[in-house]
């Protein structure tokens, strides 16, 4: 019977092509929107983790209470011991220490006098240790615009935009003016190894990156680091695992006295990200819900009008003795076939478009000029298993539901009226 119905659908284009196109369009839009929002949120989470919070972050309690100010006077000391312990107890993650700091970059003229100065937001990261994950996490190799990668102590990477503003070239000497962890003013000379562009507006305005050891020396933080970041090896944030690790670690350190005892926090619980992600999640659900609802109505109407258009046909089939239930079931199977075909086509096209944007992205850099969020300039879609399922909801249900409701009319028709209708 299904073979017979499919033949009918294929031969009568008005019963197949238009409904399939309508369903495919709706499904494609749903799939694309889901992948786009998913990509934008994932991008935010990933860049926040890579450049700011890690998937997990270990700090002192005092540092954690005012983490937005990068209070290096409250930093972790004895980092090597803590790092070894974290690596031993949580081998599923990369653990890497970082120092984040603010300061002034001073560019000297030929006489050594200040020529230019600019505020910078810096990171001291492990560049020279064997197997350091920072190269990959910060995507340093791909971010290089001019010059070379840091190869020796004293080398510094600087944001390309900042380098252009300060008219500095790779190879040039600069002085970083910062504050030691004891509050003294710190002056350290660096050589610009290269310029970088991370594609994150807030970083590209004022970022510098130096080796962790250089910054420990510069800021008088021997064996110290502001924070130790943990990254899941698959680079995806696993909320449940992260939560259980945090509970375990903090419970073990709960007895450690003082505000300088270590505390672990998840990505979600930092920088107000939790509220933001909850808001995004709710808005995403709302947007997708509204969209799916609207699409369902459109597709339902398509199913409805398709069935109503065939009112006469059904009348004739009833008149020649076909069973009402048989017609109704045939209609449902037809709409089910249309729904499947449309959903498959729509999902394929939507996922293909989304994949294109996953690879190439969409540059919103011009809209992010004053942004302080860790959001990449290029927003990418993200295709995930849900992307392939979500379109089937409006695509199949709405079509079948539309036919099912319009098909109820079949049962209400009287044989006496049928002949009258056929006569007219």
């Amino acid at each position: 019977m299904i073979k017979f119905l499919l033949k009918g659908l294929l031969r009568d284009r008005s019963r197949s092509l238009f409904p399939v196109l309508t369903v495919a369009t709706g499904v494609m839009l749903t799939v694309f929107l889901q992948a786009w929002i998913n990509g934008a949120v994932s991008g935010l989470i990933q860049s926040t983790a890579h450049y700011q919070t890690g998937h997990l972050r270990v700090m002192t309690r005092a540092y954690a209470s005012s983490v937005d100010q990068n209070p290096n006077d409250l930093a972790l000391l004895g980092v090597d011991t803590l790092l070894a312990s974290l690596r031993k107890n949580y081998p599923d993650l990369f653990w890497t220490p970082r120092i984040t700091f603010g300061g002034l970059l001073d560019i000297p003229d030929e006489k050594g006098e200040t020529k230019e100065q600019a505020p910078v937001a810096g990171m001291g990261v492990n560049l020279f240790s064997a197997g350091s994950p920072e190269w990959k996490i910060l995507n340093i190799r791909s971010a290089i615009v001019r010059g070379e990668l840091p190869a020796k102590p004293g080398d510094l990477l600087i944001a390309e935009e900042l380098a252009e503003k300060l008219h500095i070239q790779p190879g040039q000497k600069v002085t970083l003016i910062g504050s030691t962890m004891y509050g003294s003013m710190a002056y350290t000379n660096f050589t610009i190894a290269g310029t970088v562009r991370f594609g994150i507006e807030s970083m590209d305005r004022s970022a510098i990156i130096a080796d962790l050891s250089d910054m420990q020396q510069a800021l008088d933080m021997q064996q110290g680091a502001g924070e130790i970041l943990g990254f899941f090896r698959d680079d995806l944030y696993h909320e449940d695992t992260a939560d259980s690790m945090v509970h375990g670690f903090n419970a073990r350190c709960a007895n450690a006295a003082g505000k300088f005892s270590p505390v672990m926090e998840t990505l979600r619980n930092q920088s107000g990200l939790s509220d933001y992600l909850d808001l995004v999640k709710e808005l995403t659900c709302l947007m997708l819900g509204i969209f799916i609802f609207v699409m369902s109505i459109v597709l339902w109407n398509a199913g409805l009008s398709g069935s109503l258009r065939r009112y006469g046909e059904f009348g004739l089939r009833l008149a020649v003795g076909e069973d009402k239930g048989h017609i109704y079931r045939a209609m449902i199977v037809e709409s089910f076939s249309v729904g499947i075909a449309g959903s498959i086509a729509g999902t394929a096209i939507g996922a293909a478009c989304a994949y294109y944007l996953q690879v190439h992205g969409f540059d919103i850099g011009s809209m992010m000029k004053n942004s302080t969020m860790m959001l990449t300039d290029v927003i990418r879609a993200r295709v995930e298993p849900l992307t392939f399922i979500i379109g089937f909801l409006p695509g199949m249900l709405a079509t079948v539901l539309g036919s099912a409701i319009s098909g109820i009319g079949i049962y209400k028709r009287q044989t006496s009226q049928l002949f009258k209708e056929l006569e007219t």
């Binding site: 006077d73 030691t180 004891y182 002056y187 008088d220």
Partner: protein, 245 residues
């Protein structure tokens, strides 16, 4: 007859009142006592931070209100760091970078060597009568010494502390305590002179506790180990060239 008796009572009171100096006069006398035209001093700053204490030693040369040169002697990390103040400019020389850097803008508000003092505090005219109008408000005992309490209101707008309350030793005309306030009236810093010494017929502070009340910690202790007033200081010291020597 009754006018005669009244005048007997009122006249001595009026004379006594007339002998009590005004707030401005007290401040001028204290300023005259405490500041010489030039001085050379060796001092220690003990900074009590969140993670313990550290001591910074320095030698300073000062001439008038606009010229000052400081060389840090210890700890090893800060040894050789020099600061030069000329008029309203402040340069810092760090031997590790061999760079002389002008400290300006928001950097002036930073803590000096991690202490409770800022570079801005250093830059300000130390002669309080030039900056504030004083009003005597009370008399109190500080460190066992009778003091006048003066409320100082800024004469200018662009100074770090809009008002101050100072306690001036009645006999020695040395300031024993100071509270420094923001324009909003919020207390920003306290200065407590714990010990004074007599040098060349002047009373000067020997041990001072500075406390930035907005910062955690126990404040910064400042000890003057030796001081020479009205010293002869060569001109070359107050030049940028002296920083690299």
């Amino acid at each position: 007859m009754k006018y005669f008796f009244c005048s007997i009572i009122i006249l001595p009171l009026a004379l006594l009142w007339g002998q009590t100096p005004s707030g401005d006069e007290i401040l001028k006398k204290a300023d005259k006592n405490m500041f010489s035209d030039s001085k050379i001093s060796v001092s220690r700053m003990v900074i009590h931070g969140e993670r313990g204490s550290r001591t910074i030693e320095s030698k300073s040369w000062q001439r008038g209100t606009s010229e000052a040169f400081t060389e840090f002697l210890a700890p090893a990390r800060d040894k050789g760091t020099k600061m030069l103040k000329l008029q309203d400019m402040l340069w810092n020389y760090s031997p590790s970078t061999d760079r002389t850097i002008l400290i300006s803008g928001h950097m002036l508000r930073q803590s000096m060597m991690g202490s409770d003092l800022s570079y801005e505090d250093m830059m300000e005219d130390p002669h309080l009568p030039n900056l504030y109008a004083a009003k005597k408000s009370a008399e109190e005992i500080v460190n066992g010494r009778p003091c006048w309490v003066l409320d100082l209101a800024a004469k200018k707008e662009d100074i770090s502390y809009n008002s101050r309350r100072v306690w001036v030793d009645k006999a020695r005309y040395v300031i024993l305590k100071e509270n420094l306030y923001a324009t909003s009236g919020k207390l920003l810093k306290t200065i407590n002179v714990r010990e004074v010494m007599e040098v060349q017929n002047r009373w000067v502070a020997k041990f001072i506790l500075y406390k930035d009340v907005l910062k955690d910690g126990e404040g910064t202790e400042f000890f003057i180990d030796s001081i020479l007033l009205d010293a002869d200081i060569p001109d070359y010291l107050f030049s940028k060239a002296a920083l690299k020597k």
